[in-house]
Subunit: 412 residues, 2 copies
């Protein structure tokens, strides 16, 4: 493979995660390690993904990351240090303006390596850019590096960012179960978890069962239609065995007619101006249980901590996230292009993985949902096979640097 | 002081916290250390506070905690390992039945030491029980040990449990601020924090400013009336300086007419002590900002993790919580009764404390709110003096035992 000498650019796109900066750190490490090869000279960071790139809003990362301490801090910093965007590139057959602009910027900065860390939509950007530059005879190696807390990308065993979200959710569920256990009054606690189309995060709520035999009484994923009567029966049955019932539900659960559970029910509550508002999934179920069963009920939405609780990140996830970034640089320097980096599970016990890559067009715009064998027959819990798949991903704790009791983050 | 030989009972009451089990561990440690003195023979734990005591639902803690590892695990277990209750004892002048029952149980089990770990309402129980037993010539030393994440007890410098909640809130705010910073679109994120009458927890949201110069743009405590127009102006002004505005609000903020901001979204239900249930404050403000300013808005409720996120507990808080429990046993064995243990700050820099005690009747049913000098003039932030008071309380990290990536808890 011909040695391609030039500069590189890296960007972050889509919703932030706890591990997307670890992957950025991996790309930086990869470029620094690449120095002996000297094919990549300068690594630029695009601020706010392609949105910033189009405005030439670039930062020289070789200068920012002169010392190891900054890179280590970046690995433990949540969200996207370079900023993110939700920009989707147009169809190049219909609208060439954006692509012409990008090509001129690549030429101006002698960009020969393009690394894009993101989810499904970002892989679409990678596919389009690699096709466009190839068609216009501009040699640039374009690689996508996955990240998403949702774990819904195909081909890769799991996605960087997911393990840390899963660890936060499983840890928080154990703490909530302890908290709920203190009173003797019958009560139902409904915990709403992210994941609109895939139930991987909600499944993680049950991980405590594999370790301590402690998990929510009921777990509902969006992969199964939600039946309100079956739910009431499940809750009633659980209340017969102990007073504090804990339920984990995906925000994306839907009725058989396709409407979201959180969409169909109005809470009846009003704001200070008297406006009614639509409640979320947890709130909708809270009201339903209150009306139907009449016991004490509350709902808890884990919300954005699921994607940014870096203080309880998974060491496995962060290490793998660094590795996929580093491997992307190595692969690109060896000639790989138009691929998304993947994590390949090579053994279950002991858990081992390697980094691979796969044609990005096979990955973009597809969704990997939780398979049938990971969900129990009644559709109200996950199977032990599911927990066995998930468990290695939350293993290990990162070394967070605390200053005066608070975690230090790195800001570019 | 005459040596009082007999058994002891310890209970936990009121809302659980991250540190209430550390205090229980402290009482257990105190009793084990008291062995040479041999005034306390058996330490019973009452399940679900006085509620369980009335049913003689007792557990022999000497047997449960034969090994050090269990005590250490208990120190890092959130919620109330013995279970809790919200039972308020009646006025003994009007209703003696409960007190007669309790006295007979004290006699039956030869209980001469009564330790009750709880908040404001629990101190009321301590005051009534010590008065009743004294009036009935039953010698029993009755001590209250404070716990509450709200930090709203008078006399004590701060309450066990508060520092860990403050650390969780400050850490989570820093992570949320990072998460919010990734996009360039104007957006307001409203974070609702616990604290019905006192703003201590909400004030802690600003702690990042003292360490990294990073904190929410606006902080609203229940100690100031909330003015919707002033709030809109504050948000507009903040949006002029940067696109991602983060607001911390107490669940308990009220308008000048006394109505809660979140009241419109609630049923008006109250708990057994007459406290109003609140939880819609962030949601109410989210809708208000959406209607008035029209930008992207979301609200986040930190919810029960504030009182149970043991994985990010404050070492200072957990150590002090153990110490007050241990000191209570020592004080009781020395003859102290009808007192609540207190934390006395002996120096600000370096931060040092000792454990003291104070007449429980001076503490019960009073509330310590955030003082004027801790709130800025506009009523939309806290002062540096406030942060200086708070900062030592979140210092240090506990050593959590992880098994397969999840924190281990101790269940009695």
């Amino acid at each position: 493979m011909k040695k391609l000498i030039g500069n590189a650019v890296v960007g972050q796109s889509g919703g932030p995660t706890t591990a997307i900066n670890a992957t950025l750190a991996g790309v930086i490490r990869g470029v620094l390690e690449n120095v002996h090869d000297s094919s990549i000279k300068t690594l630029y960071g695009m601020r706010n993904g392609v949105e910033g790139l189009l405005e030439e809003n670039l930062v020289n990362l070789n200068e920012v990351f002169e010392n190891e301490h900054n890179i280590a801090l970046l690995e433990n910093t949540p969200a996207a240090a370079l900023g993110s965007c939700r920009k989707k590139l147009p169809d190049p057959a219909k609208d060439t303006e954006v692509f012409e602009k990008l090509l001129s910027i690549f030429k101006k900065y002698d960009i020969r390596y393009f690394f894009y860390i993101g989810g499904n939509d970002s892989m679409d950007t990678v596919a389009k850019l690699s096709a466009y530059t190839k068609d216009h005879d501009y040699e640039m190696r374009v690689l996508g590096i996955p990240k998403t807390i949702d774990n819904d990308l195909v081909v890769t065993d799991h996605t960087p960012g997911f393990g840390s979200a899963a660890k936060y959710i499983a840890t928080t569920m154990l703490e909530i179960i302890r908290d709920c256990a203190v009173y003797t009054t019958k009560a139902v606690t409904i915990v709403e978890i992210m994941g609109r189309d895939a139930g991987w995060l909600t499944a993680s709520a049950a991980l405590g069962r594999a370790v301590f035999g402690i998990s929510p009484d009921l777990v509902y994923l969006p992969e199964r239609y939600f039946d309100m009567q079956a739910f009431f029966n499940d809750v009633r049955k659980a209340l017969e065995t102990h007073p504090n019932v804990v339920v984990a539900v995906s925000e994306g659960i839907r009725f058989a007619d396709g409407t979201y559970v959180g969409e169909g029910t109005q809470s009846g509550a009003t704001d200070v101006f008297g406006h009614k508002y639509l409640s979320g999934t947890g709130k909708a179920l809270e009201i339903a249980v209150k009306n139907e069963i009449g016991c004490k009920v509350r709902s808890v939405e884990l919300n954005i901590s699921q994607r940014c609780a870096a203080h309880i990140a998974s060491l496995t996830d962060i290490s793998e996230s660094v590795n996929v970034g580093r491997a992307a640089v190595r692969a690109a320097s060896e000639g790989v292009t138009r691929q998304m980096m993947t994590i390949v599970r090579t053994s279950d016990s002991p858990y081992t993985t390697t980094v691979g890559h796969s044609d990005v067009s096979e990955i973009a715009n597809k969704i990997k949902t939780v398979p049938d064998e990971f969900i129990n027959e009644q559709g109200n819990d996950v199977t032990d096979a599911c927990l066995a798949y998930l468990l290695p991903l939350i293993e290990g704790q990162t070394t967070v640097e605390f200053i005066s009791g608070l975690p230090a983050h790195f800001i570019i």
